[in-house]
Amino acid sequence: MSRNLINITDLTVEEINKLIETADDIVANHADYEDICRHKKLATLFFEPSTRTRLSFEAAMLELGGSVLGFSSANSSSAAKGESVSDTIMTVGNYVDIIAMRHPKEGAPIVAAKRAEVPIINAGDGGHFHPTQTLTDLLTIKRKKGRLNNLTIGLCGDLKFGRTVHSLIEAMLRYEGIKFVLISPDELKVPEYVIENMQKAGAEFYETESLEDAMPELDILYMTRIQKERFFNEEDYVRLKDSYILNLEKLDNAKEDLTIMHPLPRVNEISVEVDDDPRACYFFQALCGKHIRMALILFLLGIEK
């Protein structure tokens, strides 16, 4: 039976460390990997649109010497005719060696993994899991900080519906000495089950509405987008929206080696003026996404250098 990646917890800490090692080796010894997936094919089945995730998967496979096929919206596949996920996977599984899929319905990759004979990578299932984003975040943190333990991580914005935030917390709970600062309006606080998980793991954390107050102690600031429609009323939205927009002024009292991350796409939650600050790492993060997906493809295909 093939190995899949549905949730970040499908991987052990050792396996994640190995993926990070491989990703770094890919950068250091790029030539060794140029042809390593020759004659291997990746299908990117995107039942809903994406820019970074799909293109980084495709770039990853191409850079490994493999080929890519797939579709980028449900409308351009037989899903539009009502074909089930199972049937699509059973068909595509005949053509390729590995599948990365994104689907708007939660749990769709689990259905796929039950039927597929090739590895399935969950490239996002609704508001549920997005494990390759979490791997991307972990690689970014490791590269910027040199470690995955003993860090104070500020998570800011929509902590209620943000799946990347929940997954990152879940992943970081497995490392020692992590302190979480949860910065959000009251309406968008992390769900109770995430709090329970942090308590069970004995992690240090606190919740605050003020980004400015939290800023000085942060090693990492993970920004997310606040959507207007998440608020119960216009008044609260207007009151709070500016306090979660990161600009250079708010960075005044931040550490000099702060790492600013964002899963992207950004709308206006990070002012463009921050992009040139050396602490802004979100586009570097997108690059890390390609490297870690290269490492993941090799791992799931069982290919070693």
Partner: protein, 140 residues
Amino acid sequence: MDISGVKNGIVIDHIKAGKSMQIYDLLGLGKIDNTVALIKNASSEKYGKKDIIKIDEIIDLDYDVLGYVDSNITVNIVEDNRLAKKLHMELPEKLVNVVKCKNPRCITSVEQEIVHEFRLVDKEKKIYRCCYCDAEHRVK
């Protein structure tokens, strides 16, 4: 416990009054050829009223369903007019096609052929989670 009328078979006892039809359906007793008796509103010292189901043969039953519907249920296996075994039910670790996920964003809400599966995550609070989308399901 009244096992009269059953020589070799199963007596499902202490069913909460009014729940026997639900159990009859969930266990698929309408599809078997055996004699099945449903007794509703029998008097019970413990609960005042209870339902009972009697089956005239020892057949395989889905105990998980019984444990889920009502963990107070007892299953009595009768052999040669004697009580051979008494089984107490408990919440099963997994529910397969017993309840449907109510999360409209779950893949099971749009694809009808998928097996509905829930796993027990908190026995004390009686909380299950959907194996696909992790939506919570609390047992009432």
